[in-house]
């Protein structure tokens, strides 16, 4: 072996050694942060969900097994909150998907108005949810809201309606605000996917005498399927855990009309001072998320097998 060759081998060996350490060292800060701020808190929440832990007397927290879960599931609040949350999630996710797709199709057109819209459409997603909540609360306000003003000026109502003071009105208002804030991201993702569709494919449909609708159904939708799935999963999780909007717009009311599970968890812990049942609720909500994700993945798999 020549000297040069030996040097190369030695360098390679030294590099091997360094490679051994590099990934572990590089991952250390991330792992420490996640351990402190994710694994520990989740473990703590899991522990407290199995104990009777009240903030009013934190010294004693007897182990009660699944008692908290049983208590939560048996309560009428939980059932109504679960139904509200599921309805809210399904409706807003579906509307967001359809709107996002429609927006993307419009914004993909080679027009100046479409290019301007592509930029502005990001705004609802850029601003804090708290600000979005304040704006939509204002719009639906019962004494000065422009939504009332619009209906009033059009002659559809004789006097202003306190939308946020009625169960259905409040639920719809929170849903509209949530859809408004959520639509930009799907729009962005759909736009990116649309721009990847080869022009020849669309032109082939065109040559075969198909219109824009056929192009959408036979070319765009099948190719968009993976993106639709990503958006559906992401949006479902976001909707299931909606908190800020409810906090700012309705405070869970009127009554418990807009007490989504995430807000209900907050009320249990911070108003009811019951960390045990609050944590149990949170884990149930996590379970619901997992069921949804599982269902989507199952759908995706069964479709790809076809």
């Amino acid at each position: 072996m020549s000297v040069a060759e030996q040097v190369t081998v030695m360098r390679a060996a030294r590099r091997e050694r360094r490679l051994d350490h590099f990934p572990y060292l590089a991952l250390l800060p991330l792992t420490l942060l996640l351990a402190a701020f994710t694994f520990f808190p989740v473990g703590y929440a899991g522990w407290s969900s199995l104990h009777e832990l009240l903030l009013s007397r934190p010294q004693s927290a007897p182990f009660i097994g699944l008692g908290n879960y049983a208590e939560v599931v048996a309560s009428s609040y939980f059932r109504s909150s679960l139904v509200t949350t599921l309805l809210f999630t399904v409706v807003t996710t579906a509307v967001t998907l359809v709107l996002g797709l429609a927006f993307a199709l419009l914004l993909n057109a080679p027009l100046r108005s479409a290019r301007v819209a592509q930029v502005l459409v990001l705004l609802p997603w850029a601003i804090p949810t708290v600000a979005a909540g304040i704006m939509w609360r204002w719009i639906f306000n019962g004494s000065y809201g422009p939504f009332n003003g619009l209906l009033y000026s059009a002659g559809l109502i004789r006097e202003y309606v306190p939308w946020l003071g009625e169960s259905l009105g409040a639920q719809l208002a929170v849903s509209v605000a949530h859809v408004w804030r959520s639509t930009p991201l799907p729009t962005l993702l759909f736009l990116a996917s649309l721009q990847l569709i080869p022009r020849e494919l669309v032109e082939a449909v065109r040559i075969d005498g198909g219109g824009a609708f056929q192009a959408l159904r036979n070319v765009a939708l099948p190719l968009l399927r993976p993106t639709i799935m990503i958006v559906a999963i992401y949006q479902t999780i976001v909707s299931l855990t909606t908190f800020d909007l409810v906090y700012v717009m309705t405070g869970g009311g009127p009554g418990d009309a807009t007490s989504l599970l995430s807000y209900f968890t907050y009320v249990e812990i911070f108003k009811g001072l019951n960390v045990g049942t609050g944590s149990a609720l949170a884990f149930l909500l996590g379970l619901v998320s997992l069921i949804f994700i599982g269902a989507y993945l199952y759908l995706l798999k069964s479709e790809s097998l076809e």
């Binding site: 590099f22 705004l123 850029a126 804090p128 990116a192 219109g211």
Partner: protein, 300 residues
């Protein structure tokens, strides 16, 4: 794919109209509250509203920036809905706090996530495959559930009401997604340059800082921008671990102003505009990077 390309002039006009509709839907709430911020309390509560403002004034902004009470409020006296909120005077400092925290979170994300995602993208080691799954799964937990342990940790470390507490929490919230995104981004990079440098005896650290980082600037900008945006908007933990204007961020103060039953509407409007203006400008300015960051997963 385009729908308009095939269409007649009529179809094109229809699509253009649709785009205008999208913009109207997107801007209407922002436009309405911006207009309200330029009007007096009396004009804001008109029934039906003035669709075009009757008169515009900067007095409401004047109060936030200088503390001078708007003339319209002085003359209206203590009558309903004309009240001042002390919180509104803290808004500018809160926006400043938001910027400090968000900037540190953006920078911290790069410092921690770049080596981590480089390691995940280039080296196979024990547990490297489940590590990525685990960090993504960790974001499934509803936020209120981990609030108490977060608060306990922050107070044990004597960090209540500090920027540092928020920076650490926001780092933990954003790092999983940024690391996952960057790992995917680095995997798509050609490795020939790195291999050549390695043959020349360059250390892994040097390869990362001298070769990878300069090439990855767009992805890094996207990551930092996403972390910045998330941190600027985050509300729940900011509410939980701050107590005074030393550390309170824009969403916290904005929610306090907005949820104050007695506060003037004009002040709510001005505060909302001031809280969203900086982040809106930044997002639009960096939109190429941000859009690229979010769409890279779809393009694969």
């Amino acid at each position: 794919m385009t729908t308009a390309r095939f269409g007649s002039a009529f179809a094109q006009r229809l699509v253009a109209l649709g785009c205008v509709g999208v913009v109207l839907w997107t801007l209407a709430p922002i436009a309405w509250i911006s207009l309200a911020s330029l009007q007096t309390e009396r004009d804001i509560i008109q029934v039906p509203p003035y669709w075009v403002p009757r008169a515009m004034t900067l007095d409401n902004y004047g109060y936030i920036f200088t503390g001078r009470i708007p003339q319209a409020m002085v003359s209206a006296g203590a009558s309903s809905g004309s009240r001042i909120s002390q919180e509104a005077r803290r808004l500018l400092r809160a926006v400043g706090n938001s910027f400090i925290v968000a900037t540190l979170v953006g920078a911290g994300n790069l410092l921690v996530a770049v080596p981590a995602s480089y390691a995940l993208s280039r080296f196979h080691f024990r547990g490297s495959s489940w590590y990525e799954t685990l960090i993504i799964l960790s974001r499934l937990i509803p936020i209120p559930a981990i609030a108490i342990p977060y608060y306990l940790m922050v107070s044990k470390a004597n960090l209540v009401d500090t920027h540092l507490a928020l920076v650490l929490i926001h780092l933990a919230l954003t790092l999983p997604i940024v690391t996952w995104f960057l790992a995917g981004y680095f995997r798509d990079f050609p490795r020939s340059l790195e291999e050549a440098a390695a043959l020349d005896g360059c250390s892994t650290l040097r390869i990362m800082t001298r070769i990878l980082v300069p090439l990855a600037v767009p992805g890094l900008m996207a990551s930092a921008a996403l972390a910045f945006m998330t941190s600027y908007s985050e509300f729940f933990f900011a509410l939980l671990v701050t107590q005074t204007i030393r550390a309170q961020t824009a969403p916290v103060i904005l929610a306090a102003i907005g949820n104050n039953q007695d506060v003037s509407l004009a002040l709510i409007a001005v505060s909302t505009v001031i809280a969203i203006a900086p982040i809106a400008v930044i997002t639009l300015a960096f939109r190429h990077y941000i859009v690229r960051g979010y769409t890279i997963g779809v393009e694969k």
